[in-house]
C-alpha cells in the first residue's frame, strides 16, 4: 500500500529505460530521414542517470532491511521539529538515522543530533546550491552511516514543494508536511508533490484558532489530488495527534523487517 507510487514510477522507468540498456554509444534503435536533417530516435528519460543511482540505493536499503522515508515540504513547515519529536518517541524501540539536506548551515543537524540518532548533514552548495537532494548525493551521504545498525532512515529533503518531487532517491515512501500557516491552496498549487507522496502531515494545528485556515478545504483538496492518502493532523510543538503518525511509521518499518 505504501509503495503504490514507487511501483508506478518503476513501471514507467522500466518502460522507458530497460529496452535501451546502457548502450549510450551503441546503434540507435531507428532512424528516419527528414529534409535537411537525420532524425535519431532516442527515447530516454532525462533523469535516467538519477533513476539508475536511485535503484542502486534502493537495492542497498533492501539488502540492509532499512525503511527509508523521504520527508518533503516548503521551508518553515516544521519538518525539523516534527522529526525531533518523532525521533524522541520512536527511539530506542526503532533504530533511526537521519540525512538532512539544506543549501547552507548545519543548524538542522545540530538540532537533530540531540536525539542521539546518527545525523549526516548535506549542504547542497557543494553541489551547486541544488534545490533538491538527488540520488547520487544520498549515495555519498550513506558513506557516513552504518546501515546494518539502523531500521529507519529519514531523509529531510530541501525545503521546496517543486523539485524534490521529481527526484527518486531510492526511498520506500514519501511524506509531505503541510503547515496550516501556509494556506489551504498549497496542494492545488503543487499537485505533483502531493500526488507523489504516500502520506501527508498537516502540522501546526495548535495555531488553528488564530488563523483563517480552511481545514476542510485543505483536506478535501488533498483527497482530490491523492484519494485515500493518509493525512495525520499534528502539532509538532504540543505533539497533539502524534500517535496515529507514529503507528504508521512503526507499521511501515516492521513491514520491511524480516518475518
Amino acid at each position: 500500500m505504501f509503495l503504490s507510487n514507487r511501483n508506478a514510477k518503476a513501471l514507467h522507468h522500466s518502460h522507458f529505460h530497460k529496452p535501451q540498456g546502457k548502450e549510450a554509444g551503441g546503434a540507435p534503435a531507428m532512424e528516419r530521414q527528414r529534409s535537411g536533417t537525420r532524425e535519431i530516435q532516442v527515447v530516454r528519460r532525462v533523469l535516467d542517470a538519477n533513476d539508475i543511482m536511485a535503484d542502486r540505493n534502493r537495492q542497498r536499503f533492501q539488502a540492509e532491511q532499512v525503511f527509508v522515508l523521504n520527508m518533503m515540504s516548503s521551508p518553515g513547515s516544521g519538518k525539523t521539529t516534527t522529526l525531533q519529536k518523532t525521533l524522541a518517541r520512536l527511539m530506542p524501540e526503532i533504530r533511526c538515522a537521519v540525512i538532512v539536506g539544506d543549501i547552507c548551515t548545519t543548524n538542522d543537524a545540530d538540532r537533530l543530533a540531540a536525539s542521539g540518532a546518527p545525523v549526516v548533514q548535506i549542504n547542497t552548495d557543494e553541489f551547486g546550491g541544488d534545490c533538491h537532494l538527488a540520488a547520487h548525493v544520498i549515495e555519498k551521504a550513506l558513506g557516513g552511516l552504518d546501515l546494518s545498525a539502523i531500521d529507519l532512515l529519514i531523509v529531510e529533503n530541501i525545503g521546496n514543494l517543486v523539485c524534490p518531487a521529481e527526484f527518486d532517491i531510492g526511498e520506500d515512501a514519501r511524506v509531505v508536511v503541510l503547515s496550516v500557516t501556509e494556506g489551504e491552496d498549497k496542494p492545488a498549487k503543487y499537485p505533483l508533490m502531493f500526488r507523489e507522496c504516500d502520506v501527508a502531515l498537516l502540522n501546526k494545528i495548535d495555531l488553528l484558532p488564530y488563523l483563517d485556515f480552511d481545514r476542510q478545504l485543505a483536506i478535501d483538496t488533498l483527497g482530490e489530488i491523492h484519494p485515500h492518502m493518509p493525512i495525520f493532523e499534528i502539532s509538532a510543538k504540543t505533539e497533539a495527534g502524534f500517535e496515529p503518525w507514529l503507528a504508521w511509521i512503526r507499521d511501515a518499518v516492521r513491514a520491511k523487517l524480516p518475518a
Partner: protein, 117 residues
C-alpha cells in the same frame, strides 16, 4: 528550479546518442516530451539549454518541447480521460486506483542531426 541540471542531462544524453558514423556532426534539434505534471518550466529550460549548449555539438540546436497532457485510466472500470484540474478520481465510477498513461514524461524522444550540405 532545477532546469539547469536538466539541461546538462539533455546535453549528455543527446551527445551520447550521436551515432559513430556521424561523430563530429552538429545536432540541429532535440525533441523532448514534457508531461504537464512534471516540475519543469519550459521557458526556463529553453534559457538554460541555450547557455549550457555553448561549445558542444548542441550549440545553436533548437529544443522542441512537446507538452503531454495528463491522461489517466481507471483500473476498476477502464475509463480513460484527460485530467484537466488536479482531481484524480474516475468521473465514471469514482475509483481512485489509476494508471497515468501520460503526464509524467521528461523524456528525450529523438535528436535531429544536420546533414552535410
Amino acid at each position: 528550479m532545477h532546469e539547469m541540471g536538466i539541461a546538462l542531462e539533455i546535453i549528455d544524453i543527446a551527445t551520447a546518442s550521436i551515432p559513430a558514423d556521424l561523430a563530429g556532426s552538429k545536432v540541429a534539434r532535440v525533441n523532448l516530451a514534457v508531461g504537464q505534471l512534471s516540475a519543469i518550466v519550459p521557458d526556463s529550460l529553453q534559457f538554460c539549454f541555450s547557455i549550457v549548449s555553448k561549445d558542444t555539438a548542441l550549440e545553436g540546436a533548437e529544443l522542441v518541447i512537446d507538452t503531454r497532457p495528463v491522461v489517466a485510466v481507471c483500473k476498476a472500470c477502464g475509463h480513460r480521460w484527460t485530467v484537466g484540474k488536479p482531481v484524480f478520481t474516475c468521473p465514471v465510477c469514482e475509483g481512485s486506483d489509476l494508471t497515468l498513461e501520460s503526464g509524467r514524461e521528461l523524456d528525450i524522444t529523438s535528436i535531429e542531426i544536420a546533414e552535410e550540405a
